[in-house]
């Protein structure tokens, strides 16, 4: 089966600065595909190009085997979009927002009314149907935006940071709904700064930085490829000296903020040493995760 999205040497320039630098990726039908990357990596710009909202400066882009740009209308009719910043219509109520948005697709009538009911149940906003958008909380706005993105029963749903700024309950609700969408056969493309989210939801990830794709693969593959399986985090002040003392335990040691990250095939020797010395700093032993991969690939310093 041909991929839902295929990008080759995709490039975007704003004046002299190249913010997407010839990236290649392909998104298989039915997958949940994640874009990770620090602020300014080019994730939103890439999404805008996929939707035809940003003219591409170079390369080739096909969605559903149709060329973008060129078949923009036909392509967008089959996509649902959750933008990074909510742009719901403040002049309308919750249900009206869905109804009006359906009309932009040329959809209306009883079929749309049925879908509106279903979608409001899906995002648990049924009892707010008549409320003005201005009176909703951040979590409700996000859920409504997700419902809006589904009004045209899209094959592909594109979500730009769907859970940023939301409380854990809403985030879990959204994760559940996204998994449900995937079970129904939809393809998902999402960007996130939450590594836990990426690990839970995505079958495949790309890690972007400064307009380039640094790595791609499944979360488990990426962890296995880049990071020792065990990690010990030590917290406290004056860790530089401690880091030097621990160098002979066979760990790879990385400082970040007030933390010392120690990566090892086996953390046993390190843990034994910390116990023997009666380490004054609190420490945590855990398995390697996507955050470790992300920090290793994109560097530990600030990007902007």
């Amino acid at each position: 089966m041909s991929p839902v999205i295929q990008a080759r040497a995709l490039t975007k320039r704003f004046g002299d600065s190249e913010v997407v630098r010839g990236i290649d990726f392909s998104i298989p039908r039915g997958s949940c595909f994640g874009f990770l990357g620090p602020n300014g990596a080019g994730k939103t710009t890439t999404i805008r190009m996929l939707l035809g909202l940003s003219p591409i400066s170079g390369g080739e882009l096909r969605l559903f085997d149709l060329p973008m740009p060129g078949a923009g209308r036909a392509i967008r009719a089959r996509i649902g979009v959750v933008p990074q910043m909510d742009n719901l219509d403040p002049d309308f109520s919750v249900a009206e927002n869905l109804r009006i948005f359906a009309s932009y697709f040329g959809l209306g009538g009883a079929e749309v009314e049925r879908r509106i009911g279903e979608l409001l149940d899906f995002v648990e906003l049924r009892d707010r149907a008549a409320r003005k958008v201005g009176s909703l909380s951040g979590g409700m706005l996000r859920r409504l935006t997700i419902a809006r993105a589904l009004i045209n029963d899209p094959e592909l749903v594109v979500l730009d940071e769907p859970t940023t700024g939301l409380d854990p309950q809403v985030r879990h609700l959204i994760w559940g709904r996204l998994r449900e969408l995937q079970r129904r056969g939809k393809t998902l493309l999402l960007t996130t700064h939450y590594m836990e989210e990426a690990e839970r939801l995505c079958d495949r990830l790309v890690i972007m930085d400064q307009g380039r794709i640094l790595e791609q693969g499944s979360p488990a593959e990426l962890i296995a490829r880049h990071i020792e399986p065990e990690v010990v985090e030590i917290r406290g002040d004056g860790l530089d000296a401690l880091g030097r003392q621990l160098a002979d335990t066979g760990c790879r040691i990385e400082p970040l903020g007030d933390l010392l990250y120690c990566y090892a095939e086996s953390a046993r020797p390190l843990l034994d040493r910390l116990e023997a010395d009666g380490c004054p700093h609190p420490y945590l032993h855990r398995r390697a995760n996507m955050e470790d991969v992300f920090l290793k690939l994109t560097g530990r310093e600030l990007h902007e």
Binding site: L51, L88, D89, E96, S103, Y104, A149, N152
Partner: protein, 258 residues
């Protein structure tokens, strides 16, 4: 800049409909805002000045003025909607950005917006026309034609005004457009007195702008006189409408598709 010719689809009507639905909710205040000022001109000047002037160009001054105000209020309503309101939906409210996540293109959005702005102009046309009729300012049998004509007048003014919305950095910008463009046209286009009383340079200049042509179509219809040079006037208005739409689409693409 993407100068390719606009191609809009019937979906543009969904954009028009969205605005209509919002407007219906705010009907009361909207009516007062739109018709208050032109009515003030009509009654204040029509009765006050009419007493001294009596007739102008072989018609009662009230008829002369009412026909001018029909044209100018159509212009004002359309230009106001196409600047302040279109800008609101394009920039702070990001309504157009949301629309672009559907099959709608910038071409459709601007077509729907322009039709909407012209429709609001036409509402003004109709409202002032009805008032003029009630106070006995309308003589022509064909006078009701000014209402459909108002749609063309509205289109002529909304296209250009939408260009302003598409390039404007903020709301302040529009006061320049109104002070330097719309208000001089209002004063110098034969709304209050015949254009031929102006110095010839100004007369010539005003012929290049659309309001004179709107007035010269509407006035004889209202007064029951033969319309002279109708095709020229219609052509100028149409040219402004089409040219304005094209340029507005090009500028809106530049703003929205980055």
């Amino acid at each position: 800049m993407n100068w390719s010719l606009p191609r809009f689809s019937p979906l543009a009507l969904a954009v028009f409909r969205r605005n209509l639905l919002v407007w219906r909710k705010l009907l009361g205040p909207a009516v007062v805002m739109n018709f208050g000022e032109p009515l003030l001109y009509l009654f204040g000047l029509g009765y006050g000045l009419g007493l001294f002037i009596g007739e102008m160009q072989a018609m009662p001054y009230l008829t002369f003025l009412a026909s001018g105000i029909i044209a100018s209020s159509t212009m004002n309503a359309a230009a106001f909607e196409a600047t302040y309101s279109v800008f609101t939906r394009m920039v702070p409210q990001r309504t157009h950005e949301a629309m672009l996540a559907s099959p709608l293109e910038v071409d459709d959005i601007m077509a729907g917006e322009m039709l909407w702005c012209a429709f609001k102009g036409t509402l003004s046309t109709a409202a002032i026309f009805i008032v003029a009729l009630l106070v006995g300012g309308v003589q022509g049998d064909w006078a009701p034609l000014v209402v459909p004509l108002g749609l063309l007048v509205g289109l002529a003014f909304s296209g250009v005004a939408m260009c302003m919305a598409a390039v404007s950095p903020s709301y302040d910008f529009f006061s320049y457009y109104f002070t330097l463009g719309i208000t001089p046209m209002f004063v110098l286009s034969g709304v209050f007195y015949p254009v031929d009383s102006l110095p010839s340079v100004l007369q010539w200049l005003m012929q290049l702008l659309p309001l004179v042509h709107a007035v010269e179509l509407i006035r004889p219809l209202v007064a029951g006189l033969p319309v002279e040079g109708a095709w020229l006037h219609l052509a100028v208005l149409l040219l402004y409408a089409l040219g304005g739409y094209y340029l507005a689409v090009v500028l809106a693409r530049r703003r929205l598709l980055v």
